[in-house]
């Protein structure tokens, strides 16, 4: 087992985490974005486990279970939220969800959102 040093695991974990973050930034489908978050959490789990293994201790692996439970709960809630969004809007494109933002009127009035016309005194 000594063939693979700890730092490799950690590097892999870091790469996975970065990939997850990048996925959040660059993917447009909400489900994919959500999966990117899961990827980030699992990257962290990898870190926990490798540290735990390196220390010859079990607590890090228990932390992983905690994280997995939390991630499962998050997934349940997250998917439910995504579902209601889809029902209301018929879209899963993350860029379509921008009806709330700071308004700036004079320049482009046609870009104002449907909700709040503004006149700043």
């Amino acid at each position: 087992m000594n063939a693979v040093p700890l730092s490799w695991y950690l590097t892999l974990s870091g790469v996975l985490f970065t990939l997850g973050a990048a996925g959040f930034l660059f993917r447009r489908n909400i489900i994919t974005v959500f999966m990117s978050i899961e990827l980030m959490l699992n990257a962290v789990n990898l870190s926990f486990i490798s540290f735990s293994y390196a220390f010859r201790r079990v607590d890090g692996q228990i932390f992983t279970f905690f994280v997995m439970v939390v991630a499962a709960a998050e997934a349940a809630v997250g998917l439910a939220i995504i579902l209601t969004v889809f029902k209301n809007r018929n879209t899963l494109n993350i860029d379509d969800l921008n009806s709330m933002k700071d308004e700036y009127q004079p320049a482009q009035p046609e870009e104002a959102s449907e909700t709040a016309p503004v006149s700043v005194p």
């Binding site: 959040f24 974005v33 860029d95 709330m100």
Partner: protein, 612 residues
Amino acid sequence: MQLWLIPAFPLAGFLINGLLGRRASKGFINAVAIGSVLLSFAWVLKTIMGLGDVSSRYVEHYFTWIQSGALQVNFDFAVDRLTVVMLLVVTGVGALIHIYSVGYMGHEGGYYRFFAYLNLFMFFMLTLVLAANYLVLFVGWEGVGLCSYLLIGFYFLRQSATNAGNKAFIVNRIGDFGFSLAIFLVFLNFGTLDFGGVFANVPGKPETLLNTIGLLLLVGACGKSAQIPLYVWLPDAMEGPTPVSALIHAATMVTAGVYMVARSNVIYIHAPVAQEAVALIGLATAFFSATIGLLQNDIKKIFAYSTVSQLGYMFVGAGVGAFSAGIYHLVTHAFFKALLFLGSGSVIHALSGEQDVRRMGGLAKKIPWTFWTMLCAAVAIAGVPPFSGFYSKDMILAAAYQRAPWIYWVGAITAGLTAFYVFRAIFLAFFGAYRGHEHPHESPPVMILPLAALAFLSLAGGFLFDVPQFLERLFPPIEESHDVTLVAVSVAIGLAGIGLAALFYVVKPSLPDSLAASFSGVYKLIYNKYFVDEIYDAAVVKPVVNGSRSLLWKGVDVGLIDAGVNGLGWSARGIGGILRLLQSGSIRSYATWVVFGSVVLMVAMAMAGGVR
């Protein structure tokens, strides 16, 4: 001694009128509002009787307000002679103005609201005056500001009134910023905020520190007492009802800055730079706003600039070390300026709202009571002996001469300008032929009575109340100088001002126009108040508003990161683009911010961690 009752009466009045006033009769409202102020006036008198000659400071402790570590601030009231003077002015003049308001506000909407605010103001003002430490003083300080703001905006259907209220509030916030910094500095360096504790420890502290504290206190005082460069709110504050102008913006609240400087005299004596600044700012304000007063046409604006100018006088007094003279002038000014405002209120009332002196004239016969009382105030402010203004002004000028003759000369010339513009207003309003269209009618007795009382005080207040002698032990002594020449010169300049006004506006009315024509540049400059409002607007207000709008919130759509993601020009959008990115509504750009922030943090922390 139950000092707390003094502010508690008006507070009760505020609560009763505020909660029940909407359905109550006018008689009830009057009884509560005036009654509460009279009660607190009576309680002041009783307190003074009880304290005898008030030779030492009397402190009443109520509860511990802040206890954090070694630092402790109590909610305390204290009375010394300075407080006694202020209490008498605030409750005495305040009661007269309350009575006057019954007549003046009789036909206005929101009658109960007006008196509730007025009582609330009295509560905070009395708290300010009674405070035994800087923090309690600050409570009153902020409170009077709030009431002032509410009352300036009282006629809220006029947009200009709301704007004026806002302006007053914002400008005062700048002053409060300085004041609160000063309080923090005092707290940190003295470990207490109590006046007694602080002043006892002032000697021996580094002069730089005291100068800083003094200057910061001065910033606060400049806001509240409308001194350069923060005076701009006071003339606009005339949008409020006239009794408010008399009470808050002439007699009491605006003098809080002078009071605070006089209260902190120990600091200023040990902080020569700060004290010098007080004198110079006061002098500049006195002269500068007196010149603006020369050409105003709104009768209330004339007296507003005059107030700014007279407040400057008080600062000169404090700045040259004659604190008691400054307070003396505060007292006499409260009499004659309140009278001038109430009188002009009576004129405005008589003319159903007309405020422009060019559309008055010949009113002396039509409203004689108003005319004669205002004349009393005018001779008092012009420094004609032996009326009240003469005593206090003369004392300030004499002390100024001791410090530096040129201050005396500028002050004396300012006195001449003052006499000129006040009498200009008097002559334009009361002499010559009537130029308006309304049918003037004398005000009801409930308004005339306070006018008469104030007229008496304006005339006789100077020698009835020898304030400087009363305050002798509180302040460092003023070097006595009975240089009759100086007195004669300043009186002569004052009389010359009156004479010139008579020449311009009674004897030869065509003269001002021809003068204005020949000095049109100067005329325009002064007539437009040196364009200070416009300059502030262009230099401060516009940039802040436009900047925060266009720079930060223009971004609706694709921003820098999207562009960067797509490989489009980062450079093209530049730094402004980063700011535009905020709040585009897009989740991905928000996440980009999170990533961006985390990378910055990690790099910074990694570097800091490595340095360890």
